[in-house]
């Protein structure tokens, strides 16, 4: 079984700023991590490898520094790492991003594609399903668990009300929740080894996708403006009877449309 895990390197802080001119991210100087849901996908892939035997490839699109995320994945036990990086891919919205990643995936043998449900910087949850569409593959999102039986997959999907059990067949795309499992740590040997292993660097041409459909050029959406939320004004504190307190709370909840 060949598994490709799509991951994203994300800033590990909420202290993120946007470029006021372009409305795009300023990524410099912020510590980076593997996106938590993507780590859930990685762990799931490695569990499948442990259980059934599999070749696991990790793929990311990002800046050259995303190399660090790939080396972490290698240290966790991944077999192959690919970094898709090119200025032509910059400023991409989810649709243009998904085209580039789908283009890269077409160059790789796979039975199963795993990705995190969503990244903590954008929180869109869009790229996984969009990749599935470009590749014409079935998808299940919000994955909690997966059983493989030959080409058939039986999955558990998280919903607002509980969960669903669904069945599909490979090749297919699943997006995974960070709560699906507890990601393993890198081994000491794995870390040492990871820095001697190759991370393949791919450019935009390698995706076989029309340049006009990639990056900012290929993005149907534009950030028109971005702004920080206004600071909360200091609230008021009341020393009143329980009855008056309840009145105050109810009227505030109504005012804020919470009830």
């Amino acid at each position: 079984m060949n598994i490709v895990v799509c991951i994203k390197q994300v800033p590990d802080t909420t202290e993120v700023k946007l470029d006021p001119k372009t409305g795009t991210l300023i990524r410099e100087g912020i510590p980076s991590i593997i996106n938590p849901d993507d780590k859930g996908a990685l762990e799931l892939a490695l569990q499948l490898k442990d259980k059934y035997g599999a070749h696991v490839t990790v793929l990311t699109m990002g800046l050259p520094q995303a190399d660090a995320a790939l080396r972490e994945a290698l240290a966790m036990g991944v077999d192959r790492a690919i970094l898709l990086t090119d200025r032509k891919l910059g400023g991409a919205d989810t649709l243009a991003t998904s085209r580039a990643i789908a283009g890269a995936l077409r160059q790789i043998d796979f039975d199963l594609i795993l990705a995190g449900r969503q990244a903590i910087d954008g929180d869109t949850a869009q790229v996984g399903p969009q990749i599935a569409e470009h590749l014409g593959l079935p998808q299940v999102s919000y994955l909690l668990d997966l059983e493989v039986n030959g080409k058939n997959c039986r999955v558990k999907k998280s919903t607002e009300e509980g969960y669903q059990i669904l069945e599909t067949e490979m090749p297919c795309v699943f997006t995974v929740l960070s709560t699906a499992n507890k990601a393993r740590y890198m081994t000491v040997n794995g870390i040492v080894e990871a820095y001697n292993r190759e991370v393949e660097i791919w450019n935009a041409d390698k995706t076989g996708t029309d340049e006009n459909l990639l990056g900012l050029k290929g993005s149907p959406t534009r950030v028109f403006k971005s702004f920080t939320k206004a600071l909360k004004p200091a609230g008021e504190t009341y020393e009143v009877s329980p009855e008056e307190a309840v009145d105050l709370i109810i009227s505030k909840l109504k005012e804020k449309f919470i009830i």
Binding site: T124, A125, R222, E236
Partner: protein, 336 residues
């Protein structure tokens, strides 16, 4: 693309077990405003099986036109049949705006659709406006954990699509005298593409919800003191459809499990409503909850630091206030 061919504001009507979801009605309310600003109509897109009887309800909540597609394969949400149905509708009817609730269903369907149609999709919007000069849709959403708001536009593609957070938009008051049309739509499915089968849909009680995902948290600290106190908070949480969380003190004391702990060594939460009961507000606790949308603090000590981050502070005895509040809320919610 000739944008002038694309008209009207469409809403995907999410149903589960033939129950129209609240978010769909909220979106009809918002669509009504947007359509008003554009001098256009509101279209409700209702997919399901044996669901025609729900169409009038959608009209009462703001739809001018209901597109009804009924088929056995649309009974429960599955990505591919739903995507095929809506793709056909978008191609045939050419909406200018298409709104979807940002639920586990909408967030699965929206991106699949946007890639099939080749248009932009803005996720989890909390604000939608029509630009006064260009009449384009301005979609505002939080990013980076809510610290930054971004307004996104999709000016060269149609429809302008967005998923919208549940609970943000206001539904209209139900008006059963509103008039509208219901139109049956026949979908031509390509069933060879149906590769996913729903085996089982399991509903679990709400107390399993991760506190980090909860929209409403009723949280307790040292002032709550014991298990019985947390049971009292549980009743309030139940009425509000929220979850109970805890300060570190009560976890260390063994009263609450660790997965309910808010704060530096627990979870960071950003619910719409956080009610801090008997929590003094140590800096480690504040770090985990100060980003909550609306914070109510109830504490006996008027100098408690929690009041500095609270939007509404009540100095008083929570053992008197909480039962009263629970009863009042029950009454308010039943008589809406």
């Amino acid at each position: 693309m000739d944008k002038s061919e694309y008209k009207n504001v469409y809403v995907f009507i999410e149903q589960r077990d033939n129950v129209i979801q609240k978010v769909a009605l909220e979106l009809l309310g918002k669509a009504h405003d947007l359509a008003g600003a554009l001098n256009e109509k509101v279209y409700a897109v209702l997919l399901g099986h044996n669901i025609a009887d729900k169409a009038q309800e959608l009209i009462a909540y703001g739809a001018d036109h209901v597109l009804l597609a009924e088929d056995e394969c649309l009974k429960d949400y599955i990505t591919e049949p739903y995507t095929q149905a809506i793709t056909q509708i978008i191609h045939d009817y050419k909406p200018s705006i298409f709104l979807i609730g940002a639920t586990t269903i909408g967030r699965d369907l929206g991106p699949r659709l946007s890639a099939r149609i080749t248009t932009g999709l803005t996720a989890d919007c909390t604000k939608l406006d029509i630009s006064e000069d260009t009449k384009e849709l301005m979609m505002t959403r939080p990013a980076f954990g809510g610290n930054i708001m971004a307004t996104i536009m999709c000016t060269n593609h149609r429809p302008q699509m967005s998923t919208v957070r549940p609970g943000v938009m206001q539904k209209m008051a139900k008006d059963t005298s509103r008039k509208g049309e219901v139109e049956n739509v026949k979908i031509n499915f390509d069933k060879s593409k149906f590769k996913v089968k729903l085996v089982e849909n399991v509903k679990v009680t709400s107390n399993k919800v991760d506190i980090a995902d909860a929209k409403i948290l009723v949280s307790g600290g040292r002032g709550v003191g014991n298990k019985e106190g947390f049971e009292m908070l549980g009743k309030l949480a139940e009425v509000l459809h929220g979850e109970v969380s805890s300060s570190r003190a009560m976890v260390d004391a063994g009263v609450m499990p660790h997965d309910r702990q808010v704060g530096q060594t627990g979870k960071t939460v950003r619910p719409n409503l956080y009610i801090a009961n008997g929590i003094s507000g140590a800096i480690q606790h504040l770090a985990g909850m100060e980003e909550s949308e609306f914070i109510i603090a109830i504490n006996k000590d008027k100098f408690a630091p929690i009041f500095k981050v609270a939007d509404l502070g009540i100095v008083g005895d929570l053992y008197k206030i909480i039962p009263l509040l629970t009863e009042r809320l029950k009454f308010e919610l039943e008589n809406r």
